[in-house]
């Protein structure tokens, strides 16, 4: 299978770490951040493509991760969403043209199946830039908002923050990915509801093995006051996100992209 995922969010929100944690492979070497500090008050965001071949248990997936370095980092971020939004549309465009070829050889297909949008864990609510881009992403791709660096928020902070984020998403009419509820199987319907209730997923990312005070070795972030564990469901929703992306919903993410989003794009092109 070929699964293409995009990670969108300002730098320093743990996107690279989360991707590495999700797929427990080293996808990108340590980046050089010094380049970003000469005056780049208006520079547009670029899109970076990283390919990897994964073997998650017995399941071989060709994973492409699209990173968006510099998004939202500048003094003026007006239109910083354009390269990202254009990239998504361009993949539908490219696929459409290949489909129209008389001789349909191996198509390269970089249509984005899932877009993880990283929300800064301020404890208040979404920023204007978050809203601007999420509106534009939601109509084009399976948008999955996540609360980045969720170990910044206490249990109560996190509960209130998620609630406020959900309210703004609803109020602003932002379309997000809904795991479909199939009513034939109560267990999977229950699973889908549990996933939906958790959105935006709280994320803690780490590729380091650390030891908890009670002696277990886990992937986590080791603070002087304790260990924030990636795979502990009381600490964050990482396992829910991973199960959605790689286990239970990968095929749905791929098919909704190829059927729903692609068809929307084709129709819009035919109308214009």
């Amino acid at each position: 299978a070929h699964f293409t995922m995009m990670v969108v969010g300002e730098s320093g929100l743990g996107k690279t770490t989360l991707v590495n944690t999700l797929f427990t492979t080293e996808l990108s070497p340590a980046k050089n951040y010094n380049k970003r500090h000469y005056k780049q008050l208006d520079k547009l965001t670029e899109v970076e493509i990283i390919k990897a071949e994964l073997e998650e248990k017995q399941f071989k997936v060709k994973l492409t991760v699209i990173d968006t370095p510099g998004f939202g980092d500048y003094v003026n971020n007006r239109d910083s969403w354009s390269p990202i939004v254009d990239f998504i549309d361009d993949q539908h465009e490219a696929y459409m043209r290949q489909e129209q070829q008389p001789q349909r050889e191996e198509k390269t297909d970089l249509r984005v199946h899932a877009c993880l949008y990283f929300i800064r864990p301020t404890g208040h609510t979404l920023k204007p830039l978050d809203i601007e881009i999420m509106k534009r992403l939601g109509t084009r791709v399976n948008l999955i908002p996540v609360v980045a660096k969720a170990d910044t928020l206490t249990q109560n902070d996190l509960f209130l923050f998620k609630q406020r984020v959900r309210e703004v998403i609803a109020a602003q009419g932002i379309r997000i990915y809904q795991p479909p509820v199939e009513n034939d199987d109560e267990a999977s319907a229950e699973h889908a509801r549990m996933l939906t209730d958790a959105i935006p997923f709280s994320i803690i990312g780490s590729t380091e093995d650390v030891q908890t005070p009670d002696g277990r070795v886990v992937k986590g972030r080791e603070y002087l006051w304790g260990v924030a564990e990636v795979e502990n469901e009381n600490h964050c929703d990482f396992r829910k996100l991973r199960s959605l992306l790689i286990r239970t919903h990968m095929l749905d993410l791929i098919s909704t992209t190829e059927e729903l989003h692609y068809e929307n794009y084709r129709q819009q092109q035919m109308e214009t």
Copy 2:
């Protein structure tokens, strides 16, 4: 004494909490953040003035805290530093005019004695907006950079982040407040060096009393994996910052503002 402090940084960096923690008084009620979410793509930052009368032990201080709501929160933050920079200059201007009055009655003096700049704890380095405003603040006011929400960073992350922030500050020629080293008293010279070495101060803020796993009641943030303590010097530099602001260096902060910064301003005005 009359001490005027300014807190500058994007919303959600814990500025209000830190001020409350510093002076253990309730300075501002819970803010209403919903107003900030209609399209404010270009709105300029306003400056909000909050007065309080403090009694920190036997020492009565008239504290004014100047908050900068909305700074850096918009899609386009170009010139978002202007209201803040203008405010600082305006106080020197106002004082200068009062001084020039033949009849010098009670002057209102809102000259800013210390400006705490809150740096987002990305783990990478300073953002372009941080650099732009810190350069302009450093030449006008006693600028004290702090690493906000330092409980986001592990010990190693924090060490590297502080180092990188210091490098950028040096490379960009940003002027920050230096606690003066008086050579007559080895203990206070040592104290001044220790403060200087810790800058940017790492901050954890909280007005809540929580219980640590080993049974102590402290001001801190209670996570499922442990308690990040405000007044534990291994957890953050809060005590160093508090000692600098309220105990050891308040008089130096006031006098450098009245002598150095005010005189600089007066001279610049006379030359133009």
